[in-house]
């Protein structure tokens, strides 16, 4: 029996373009833009000023509040300006713009701990905050928050997420093939921090080479098991992964903490290893730059703050005029409105579509086929919710669990009449929150 959850879809994989291409280090561009808001939670506050000299890995901001982490410079050079700059969210966000001097002078702010086994859990948490770690799967949730569960919740299982269920993306795949030791050490650090004895590494079966590598490497640890899971979208979603591997169901409105689980991306585990053992803050990451129209799609090790334009140029440009650039995967990624948007901590891929590929078919009325109901991994009724919102009956959708929707887009993908179901749901959520705020 294959290990999976109920529902989900099978979009074309399209991973062949970059699956076998090793990670290449992309030289840093002349100018780097570091947005002060790269993660879920409060934006951080700048601590450098215009004209300051900064080194590679120097902290540029301090975090305010619990759900917030600092950002770091990814090059050495001079702070050119601190001003609003186009951001993937669609609005301009305060960013630090650094002129690269090309020397990459390293910053020695963070100590390296070769013998990390002697560190206490609180020290590891401190390092993960100091290094600005945020979830590298896409949502960029601050890692330190995940590593500090409330004392009432007992965590007994850590799951490392190597599913990479989004089509096109191969960044995690290549990372698992090229840095397995770092990932496993990172996982052991997470386990030690939380005092957990049992852990799983979930990898989709379309990456047999990665499964093989990890099975060999984890043989000596009897508390880590590698699990090949069914190829299906959204298999890499937190709640679906927990369901597939442990059979536990996260309650509506709950968090993985509530069922004693913690899920981390493989990239985050590697970043944690780098931060603790090498004293290297999170200032670079692997990004898959892909698309049928690109001349030379690649997996690149990119400095955070590199403009998207630079990545597309590094892939020798496109065959056809660009119709759409998506940051992230094709299912949950965000379409960009400008190519000077910088890469952030949560960017796992840059997807380039030609004009014909980006064309959207016309929306037609619902035919009540209920395919969206079949595939919804959260077992909601997208058709019903969308119809209610279309008729502006926003409050009623709360009874249908609109806030349990994780916006995976499976419903919109399968809809035979191409209804923009997810757009309706996002609009409904926004409208309900707005009305709630008004009532306060």
């Amino acid at each position: 029996m294959s290990i999976t959850f109920k529902g989900g879809i099978h979009p074309p994989q399209n991973k062949v373009f970059t699956k076998d291409k090793p990670i290449l280090a992309l030289p840093a561009p002349e100018e780097i833009i570091i947005p002060l808001s790269q993660h879920i939670g409060a934006p951080s506050k700048p601590i450098v000023e215009k004209g300051d000299r900064v080194t590679m890995g120097q902290r540029l901001s301090e975090s305010e509040g619990f759900v917030s982490v600092p950002v770091h410079s990814s090059v050495s050079g001079k702070v050119k300006d601190i001003k609003p700059w186009p951001h993937f969210s669609g609005e301009s966000v305060l960013s630090v713009i650094i002129e690269n001097d090309g020397k990459d002078t390293p910053c020695r702010e963070m100590p390296a701990h070769e013998d990390w086994e002697n560190l206490s859990p609180d020290q590891i948490r401190g390092i993960s905050r100091e290094a600005g770690l945020a979830g590298m799967g896409g949502a960029a949730f601050p890692t330190v928050v995940k590593l500090s569960p409330p004392p009432t919740k007992q965590i007994d299982t850590v799951i490392l997420n190597g599913a990479e269920c989004e089509p096109y993306l191969t960044a995690d795949h290549r990372l698992m093939l090229e840095y397995p030791d770092e990932i496993i050490e990172g996982l052991r650090m997470i386990m030690k921090t939380l005092g957990v004895e049992k852990s799983f590494i979930g990898i989709e079966k379309n990456k047999p080479d990665a499964i093989k590598v990890f099975k060999n490497k984890t043989e000596k640890f009897d508390n880590i098991s590698v699990i090949g899971i069914k190829v299906k979208y959204p298999q890499g979603a937190e709640k679906q992964l927990i369901d597939a591997i442990t059979g536990r169901k996260v309650p509506a409105g709950g968090l993985p903490f509530d069922v004693g689980c913690l899920v981390q991306n493989v990239g985050t585990a590697k970043a944690l290893y780098d931060a603790v053992v090498r004293g290297k803050p999170l200032y670079e990451r692997v990004v898959t730059v892909t698309g049928k129209t690109l001349n030379n799609p690649q997996n690149l090790m990119v400095r955070i703050g590199t403009p998207v334009r630079h990545l597309i140029d590094a892939c020798d440009g496109t065959k056809d005029p660009i119709g759409k650039i998506i940051m992230g995967g094709p299912m949950m990624g965000i379409a960009l409105y400008a190519d000077e948007v910088p890469i952030v901590k949560g960017t796992s891929g840059i997807l380039v579509f030609s004009v014909t590929e980006a064309d959207l078919p016309r929306e037609k009325p619902c035919i009540s086929c209920a395919r969206c109901v079949d595939v919804c991994p959260m077992k909601l009724l997208p058709n019903r919710i969308a119809t209610l919102i279309e008729n502006e009956r926003f409050q009623e959708t709360e009874e249908y669990g609109i806030f349990d929707c994780m916006e995976c887009g499976s419903c919109t993908y399968v809809c035979p009449t191409k209804r923009r179901l997810l757009h309706y749901i996002k609009w409904g959520k926004d409208e309900i929150i707005k009305r709630r705020n008004k009532e306060k």
Partner: protein
């Protein structure tokens, strides 16, 4: 045979009589005393159930007025006469009700303002707004998908060729539904006797506005200086008119370098024939597809 018919008639007759007695008894015993003022108030309401007062239809508002939960001048479409009549019924003094009309505080639209991206989603301003504040480059300008036009219960709004809502002032009752539904706060209520208004909603600095819109308020302060009655004030890089002081002389309209001050009498011509709303929306939808 005969007996059967008589029996049936008798039985049904007795049953009918019994039910009649029961119903009469219940009607007396459980009678709900209706305040006759509700019906009277309802007589003086327009009866269009627009919902602008915040209650479910005219009857809902009438009940709320009689219960003392709603003000007597809460019906905007009914205006002054209905407020006075309801006030008489309720024995209350009616505070001054102002007759308002809605205008769009934006003149950017498709021709004058830049767009950030091509929008291909749902045909509703509020749905477009969740995607990075809508496809317009200006975070405060009109999106132009006509949510206000669709929602107006009086058919008083139409989209101009520039994709900006324009008001038919004869039909507009100042109910404020468009003001409530506009995600960008572009719609604005103006006293009916006020003709001049600022057709820009952006509190951004002049340089920022100039880059993205040719008819935005760039905060040059010329209107503030030229106004003979000191009725115009610049706050947060946007001009505001004090309607109490304004004498409608129109000097500011002439002096404004970006032409973002408009006279609603002559500022925007109404399209002819006036009822093009649905047609125009359909055209826009077709163009988008």
């Amino acid at each position: 045979m005969k007996l059967t018919i008589i029996g049936a008639v008798l039985l049904l007759g007795i049953l009918g009589f019994l039910f009649g007695v029961i119903l009469a008894f219940i009607a007396r015993k459980f009678a709900v005393s209706l305040d006759e003022r509700v019906a009277k108030v309802l007589e003086h309401l327009p009866g269009i159930n627009c919902g602008a007062c915040g209650y479910p239809g005219c009857s809902g508002y009438a009940k709320a007025v009689v219960a003392g939960a709603a003000p007597v001048n809460g019906c905007a479409p009914g205006g002054k006469p209905s407020a006075q009549n309801i006030g008489k019924i309720m024995g209350q003094e009616v505070s001054d009700t102002k007759d308002m009309v809605a205008v769009a505080k934006c003149s950017g639209g498709a021709n004058n303002a830049k767009t950030k991206y091509v929008y291909k989603g749902l045909f509703d301003c509020r749905a477009a707004y969740i995607l990075a504040n809508g496809p317009t480059d200006c975070a405060y300008g009109c999106i132009g998908l006509g949510t206000c036009v669709e929602d107006c219960p009086f058919g008083a709004l139409e989209l101009s060729d520039n994709c900006i809502p324009i008001t038919d002032y004869d039909k507009c009752t100042g109910c404020g539904i468009c003001v409530r539904n506009c995600p960008k706060g572009v719609m604005h209520l103006l006293p009916r006797d006020q003709l001049i208004y600022i057709a820009c909603n952006s509190p951004e600095k002049g340089g920022v506005v100039r880059k993205i819109c040719s008819t935005g308020c760039i905060c040059c302060k010329i209107c503030e200086k030229e106004c003979p009655k000191d009725a115009i004030e610049i706050r947060d890089f946007l001009a505001y008119i004090d309607y109490e002081k304004c004498i409608q002389c129109g000097i500011c309209i002439e002096k404004c370098p970006t032409k973002c001050i408009l006279d609603r009498g002559t500022g925007i011509p109404l399209p002819e024939p006036a009822r093009v709303t649905r047609k125009r929306l359909k055209e826009l939808k077709a163009a988008q597809e």
